[in-house]
């Protein structure tokens, strides 16, 4: 049963990496004086850490809610290219929209590894199992972080947040055997300094669009 297999896969290192980050987020929400309901809703319904952190940091700043929302939307704008890249692997029917709440970096990165090697009819089940498990872990970890926030030192919170880039760095290193991934990683790293000159809210996505487009064009030249 592919759904159960995916649930088990999600409970390994992906769950640890996700839990560490969401524990830190829950603690940050508690420190900001917001309620546990806000923390849980943000974790499960936004389900994109950059946007969650940007919104949390911008609340209470001058200018009201709209600038905070705009910055958070820009920080999570990678959902669009991620969903585009994922959609063809989920089948053409309406059932693929069941995957909508679970499209986030961790399930996406693992799906881009696993789905190409699975039979077509098992791909959506795998993604739903992995995505739902990761989503539940994120919610539980947020509540744990909210509860233990007063006992955590600030450097420990920062270290927990650092698990996320470590985890994604290892995933990218493993996937770099594929030429498309290798080119995109290389040019994403080269384009990263653009974030220092682009508007803050759009900086990361801007660097990704520039690096990713150059990597795509490089690949297209190689195919001819």
């Amino acid at each position: 049963m592919m759904f159960a297999t995916a649930c088990r896969e999600a409970l390994g290192v992906p769950a640890l990496a996700m839990a560490a980050t969401f524990v830190a987020f829950g603690a940050a929400v508690q420190a900001a004086g917001l309620g546990w309901g806000w923390a849980l809703a943000s974790a499960l319904l936004v389900y994109g850490m950059p946007g969650q952190m940007v919104l949390l940091g911008a609340l209470g700043a001058p200018g009201g809610a709209l600038p905070a929302v705009a910055g958070a939307v820009a920080a999570n704008a990678r959902f669009l290219p991620m969903a585009v890249a994922l959609a063809p692997w989920l089948g053409g029917g309406r059932r693929r929209f069941l995957a909508l709440p679970f499209i986030a970096v961790t399930p996406w990165a693992m799906a881009m590894r696993r789905l190409p090697g699975l039979p077509t009819e098992q791909r959506l089940s795998w993604f739903l199992g992995f995505g739902l498990t990761s989503w539940v872990v994120a919610g539980l970890a947020t509540m744990l972080g909210y509860a233990i926030a007063p006992r955590l030192e600030i450097w420990m919170l920062a270290a927990l947040l650092f698990v996320n880039p470590l985890y994604f760095g290892v995933i990218l290193a493993g996937d770099a055997v594929q030429p498309l991934v290798r080119r995109a990683v290389l040019l994403g790293v080269v384009a990263a300094p653009l974030t220092f000159v682009l508007p803050t809210a759009w900086a990361l996505l801007g660097a990704g669009v520039v690096g990713g487009t150059l990597a795509f064009l490089w690949g297209e030249l190689g195919r001819r």
């Binding site: 390994g12 640890l16 990496a17 994109g48 290219p81 880039p165 470590l166 995109a184």
Partner: protein
């Protein structure tokens, strides 16, 4: 409705709209369609930029970790991956080195 709740509600709607737009646009395309390959390149490049910035020039809470600890943790994770592959050992080892160097400094 409080401003905090309104902001969260708007962000939830915007994130759902971006995910839905991607599923609608690309749901009928093949995985090797040029548009899908371009989107995958952009998403991977964005992730690579996020990782390298988190190590080399982070903002927010990550900046509280001293840079030698970030670099040592990241290099340890990469070295463990090159040695043993897998995910668990490299991530755990990188985290342990980050913590150890942070405490030493």
């Amino acid at each position: 409705m409080a401003a905090d709740d309104l902001a969260l509600g708007l962000l939830v709607l915007a994130c759902a709209a971006m995910r839905a737009a991607g599923l609608v646009v690309a749901g009928r395309l093949r995985p090797d369609h040029p548009f899908v390959r371009w989107a995958a390149s952009v998403a991977i490049a964005t992730l690579a930029a996020f990782v390298i910035l988190a190590v080399a020039a982070p903002v927010g809470s990550l900046a509280l970790i001293p840079w030698p600890a970030r670099v040592a943790g990241f290099l340890a994770a990469m070295a463990l991956f090159a040695w043993r592959r897998g995910l668990f050992l490299p991530v755990l080892g990188g985290f342990a080195v980050t913590l150890a160097v942070t405490r030493l400094l």
